[in-house]
């Protein structure tokens, strides 16, 4: 366990440095003059002239060498100072934490909703089989074949435009959360309900489970004591793989629904060439990703303490 955590910690450091350096290099390689772009996003496209660009250049020290900028960035990173946004002038760390809260809210609600959809459906289709199983297989295959933004678009058309039940996009009330979270949940559940199904089938057909049933345990009791944990381990491990889907889904869904989270912020920062925000967002996503993967490892370890293949 300790070894695992130490390894993950090293990975975290390597990742922060690697991701940070990569984004730094890539951003330096952007074509065009940064000063003009930043001035344009600050004052509007029409108000930009060379004087405004020069002011921005002097203010932000954009004419320094790449090495000094890299060194400066690195020192700042060590002290968790991600700099100020070039557009809004706000500290990046503060902006990111603000956005992170919204993203996490969306992700957590989406994941819970996905679990509520996937687990009962997966178990039921494994238990009853037949037409339920075939319908779910077809539905899952269809949902997997469309990108997550298409699920979102269809949800908007159906619930917001045709039925007028929910707001199209935006943020504020609980109603605004429903469609984005549902979209994320559907894209997650499309795959995970099949994983639950496969694992449940494996356990239901296993000798130990059949023995539990033949010795007279009621189905629910046998399931709780012999089935649940055995099904849970691979499902939780699979969730670690699905984390990528969660993060990518969050980026797309936030852009689609104008949800003020980190993915939305990243997309906007890329347009505006707001380098500190891009770096900060990419960095934070990378670190969050490692932390969540560690959590998945820990949960798997707790569910199945026999050890086996950790990390």
């Amino acid at each position: 366990m300790k070894q695992l955590l130490a390894k993950r910690f090293l990975q975290l450091i390597a990742v922060s440095w690697g991701v940070g350096t990569l984004t730094f290099l890539l951003m330096r390689a952007l074509p065009g003059d940064m000063a003009y772009r930043i001035a344009a996003s600050r004052y509007g496209m029409d108000a930009v002239d060379s004087r405004a660009a020069e002011l921005v250049r002097a203010e932000l020290g954009l004419d320094g060498s790449a090495w000094s900028a890299y060194w400066q960035w690195f020192v700042d990173l060590l002290s968790w100072n991600l700099g100020n946004s070039l557009v809004s002038g706000q500290p990046v760390a503060q902006e990111l934490f603000h956005m992170l809260g919204h993203s996490l809210l969306l992700a957590v609600v989406g994941i819970l909703l996905a679990a509520l959809i996937a687990i009962p459906l997966g178990l039921a289709s494994a238990y009853y089989g037949g037409w339920l199983d075939r319908t779910l297989l077809a539905l899952s295959t269809a949902l997997r074949a469309v990108p997550v933004f298409v699920i979102g678009l269809l949800a908007i058309i159906l619930f917001a435009l045709e039925l007028s039940l929910l707001p199209v996009a935006g943020f504020g009330t609980l109603a605004h959360l429903v469609l984005p979270a549902l979209t994320l949940a559907l894209s997650l559940a499309a795959v995970s309900n099949r994983v639950v199904h496969t694992e449940a089938r494996r356990v239901f057909n296993a000798p130990f489970f059949e023995f539990a049933r033949t010795k007279g345990l009621r189905p629910w009791f046998a399931f709780r004591h012999h089935g649940m944990r055995n099904i849970a381990v691979p499902v939780v491990a699979f969730f670690g793989i699905q984390l990528i889907t969660v993060v990518e889904g969050v980026v797309m869904i936030e852009s689609l629904f104008s949800w003020p989270g980190i993915g939305h912020g990243l997309a906007h920062a890329i347009f505006a060439r707001d380098i500190p925000v891009i770096q900060g967002a990419a960095l934070m996503m990378g670190m969050l990703f490692v932390v969540l993967n560690t959590l998945v490892d820990v949960v798997c370890h707790y569910l199945d303490p026999r050890g086996g293949k950790l990390a």
Binding site: Q11, L30, P147, V251, M252, S255, I270, A282, G286, F289
Partner: protein
Amino acid sequence: MSLQLNTTQKIGAALLLALVAYALGAPLFKDGDSISQNLSAIMSAPGGQFWFGTDHFGRDMWLRLADALRLSLMMAALCVLTAATIGVTAGVLAATQGGWVDRLLDGVVTILLALPGLVLVLIFAAIVPGSFWMLYVAISLIQWIEYFRVSRAITQRMITSPAVQSSRLMGFGGWYLFKRHYWPAIAPQLLTLAAFGAANAILMMASLGFVYVGIQPPLAELGLMIVEHFPYYSDAPWLLVLPLSVLALMVLSCHLLGRRTQDQGEAA
């Protein structure tokens, strides 16, 4: 390498072939091009002169859709080829050389894996907005990892096998070992990896088009078409339905093609 496809895979292959045939053949049946606008015939319904109707600028959807399809298929094919070549080479090298080669590649993979693929592609796309080649580099950069890990694991397992040991004792070189032992073990896995990789490349390009950092107008790209046509969905539903269904069919065909047996495919 003999290909034995099950029924599901055959359906996928047929679907993919049909899409390729449409992408390549569509312009042969129709004059004109996909970017010239005809403002007196905007959003005309399918049928008559325009088989798939026209979009909000009066451009022929039959041709635009074929263009977009060709772009997506080309991206998928290029990414799969590049990623597979680099990944298998690096994987076999890492397993056979060991030492610092292995550690270096492992480090690179660890760092790349820590960032969700889409974020990496977004950053790359930001460098040269609208560049097909930048997207290609970015997507390949993510996808080679999968091939690397699979071929490295397989090769590592093979190295200690009696067959490889005796081949080495007889003094056969690295290339022979690869051709005779490693490649036949790796090759059967490649179809699955390639099919899912192709689907991912297509989805990724469409996603970028959708958030407007991918291919830029007036080029036809599926994600871009979807977001451009969305405002007209109630007046001209086919404008939204066509690119959506083509995108879904393309990804579906890849998924079906990659599904080896019913159970393995689901867990993947």
